[in-house]
Amino acid sequence: MKEEKYIIEKAGRANPFRVPDGYFDTLAAQVMARVDREGVPAGSLCVSPAGRPAKVRALRPVYYAAASVCALLLSAAVYLHFASGPAAPGAAQAVAAAQAPDDGFDEAADYVMLDNQDIYACLSSDY
């Protein structure tokens, strides 16, 4: 790239900055003194082991999403289990109950399609 060559010819790559003599000799001690003064206690930190596969980290959102869906399904199953009445169905029956067509859902679906006048009419009737 001719522009890069031009810049290198003009300014070079040499470091134009300096530091006071002995600066790096005392730097580590200064840093550690500040860490001791202002840092959190060493025991309160938790450091991961090196070399954890990047794939594991990349899949973490997927794991969280999967865990959320499982929690939701479990909550729904528990709710349906208690909402179905005193007789506690077996696991297979609970699953079947969750999967069975729900007339209440159809009613709700119809309800949301009602306009205001219809809703008022329903509320004022002898349901």
């Binding site: 522009e3 003009k10 730097l27 840093v31 980290r57």
Partner: protein, 181 residues
């Protein structure tokens, strides 16, 4: 050699009883390299020293954020670049009503720890005027001669976008030089 040092440092950092010793080893190993990276952004020695100390303090306090999917050096370099850019942004906000380029020219001229000639000072002024991403990519490529593959891991960007940033940065710096010829 660096990989062995990194693994050793991480081992020490994992146990509370050796954590401080491990961190001190990390500081001794990388402080000079990180200092120069910071210095190229903030320019002034005292400011660079402050920012570098903040980098290490942040690294210590956020050690939990090191997940082991990059080297320790890559992790701390990311912190250093972010801290440097934050510092530069705050400086720019403070100097909003002044001519930033003129102010920088005067600053470099007056700085006892800047030994560069006119062209090197012009380069610093040109680089300081770049947007953050272009500036970062330019510094890492031009001065550190970092490979794009390494830069990609450091900055979480594609090699293509990094090459494009560098190309744009070089063009702008060239134009800056030409306008001051």
């Amino acid at each position: 050699m660096k990989d062995t040092d990194d693994s050793r440092i991480v081992e020490l950092l994992q146990r509370p009883e050796t954590r401080r010793a491990g961190f001190e080893q990390l500081v001794r190993q990388y402080s000079e390299q990180l200092y120069w990276q910071v210095r190229r952004f903030v320019l002034n020695h005292d400011d660079a020293s402050d920012v570098l100390q903040n980098v290490f303090l942040k690294a210590w306090n956020r050690m939990d954020s090191f997940q082991g999917d990059s080297s320790v050096f890559t992790w701390i370099t990311r912190i250093a670049i972010n801290e440097s850019l934050d510092y530069v942004r705050k400086q720019k906000l403070r100097a909003q009503n002044t001519d930033a380029d003129l102010s920088l020219a005067r600053q470099l001229q007056a700085d006892p720890w800047f030994d560069g000639d006119e062209a090197q000072a012009l380069l610093q002024r040109a680089v300081a005027s770049l947007p953050d991403v272009q500036r970062t990519v330019f510094e890492l490529r031009y001065h550190d001669e970092m490979k794009y593959s390494e830069m990609s891991k450091l900055l979480h960007a594609s090699e293509g976008s990094l090459k494009a940033s560098y190309h744009l940065a070089v063009k702008k710096i060239y134009k800056f030089f030409k306008s001051h010829d």
